[in-house]
Subunit: 217 residues, 2 copies
């Protein structure tokens, strides 16, 4: 199994799932700007959209999209119980993966993280955050996980909410979200994946000669 | 089974799936602006996010998110074969539902359809269309459906690509997409759902005293 990732991109969620499962996997870094991979390939030829994550399964299938890759990894390593297998639980899992992907990842964070996005675009995205984060906070109030036990949906939400550190979104304004993130950071697989990719992200910024944000130092 | 929908919103996909399945269902219209329902309820109390589709299952469960509702409907009516049931097919289904939801629906069309979005926001969204539609067109070249047979993913893509008619996106620039849409329009369930919701959409515009776009007349 081979995961194409970029440091601290949403592909972090799949790394977390693989670490939670204790899975053997190869990790290939993709430069988000040049689209070159760390094993010297052109990522555009692997993924027509040029987007991480891409997972190459043991049988050679090339998978894309967090909401498909994450359940695939969970099913591949059932002992880790990273996704419900009953139909009702499965529907709840896909509700969360879809909410995170559509309402948080794409609606709020992609424009906020895009260095090329005009200010009006960032303002429009930022204005959409309170309603969605308020609602999410009510759902996470008094809970440690989105479902009853840790799942790949938590891995995805963790990867996405981590981005708030380099945006104008202050998670401490939503205590339920801050507590949820702190709890996940205490899980060894989440902490290891995050720290490893943070180091790779800093190295990438340094290679490019970009200034390090306060969060990185 | 009860579907909360707004005319020609993404909830159209679930109506199509229900018609394809020959399912009995109740349809409750939600005014996208006032959030009042046609049975005189406050939709915000049914869906905290105020977003259609919401599906109330026969057992009373309240489901949200296209990528969860559509597979749920497919599984509820297995004779219609609107979703693969094998793991590999299921992964492909979720790849498509995720791509449509994240890259087309939220990245391109939501800003283009939002009357309150500033021009810079619409321009940013429009600039993201060619890469995604080019890629999609290569995948649909010579194919009638996203998977091997008609599925709920086609219902979702149909609902989303229909919106191009009221945007600057000209589907005829992508012959594979135009042919795909024409083929789906020829399916009775798709045509019936579309024509019924188009009539409701025109009625909604007239109730509000809004001018009818050229496409509506």
């Amino acid at each position: 199994m081979k995961l194409y990732f970029s440091p601290l991109a949403c592909s972090l969620a799949t790394r977390i799932a693989l670490y939670e499962a204790g899975a053997e996997a190869q990790f290939v870094e993709v430069d988000g700007k040049t689209k070159r991979t760390s094993d010297d390939s052109d990522f555009q030829r692997i993924s027509g959209l040029g987007m991480v994550p891409v997972l190459v399964a043991d049988d050679g299938r090339v998978l894309a999209e967090n909401a498909a890759i994450l359940p695939f990894v969970a099913d591949r390593f059932p002992a880790a119980a990273l996704a419900p297998t009953d139909p009702e639980g499965r529907t709840r899992l896909h509700q969360w993966l879809s909410f995170i992907g559509t309402e948080l990842h794409k609606t709020i964070f992609v424009p906020l993280l895009d260095e090329t996005a005009p200010e009006a675009v960032k303002a429009y995205a930022l204005a959409r955050a309170p309603k969605r984060l308020d609602w999410l906070a009510t759902k996470l109030e008094g809970r440690s996980y989105l479902l009853d036990t840790p799942s790949v949906a938590d891995a995805y939400l963790f990867a996405v909410l981590n981005w708030s550190a380099v945006t104008a979104i202050q998670l401490r304004n939503w205590p339920a979200l801050a507590a949820y993130m702190k709890n996940l950071h205490a899980r060894p697989a989440f902490a290891r994946a995050f720290e490893e990719e943070k180091a790779l992200w800093i190295a990438e910024l340094q290679r490019r000669g970009q200034p390090l944000p306060a969060i990185a130092v």
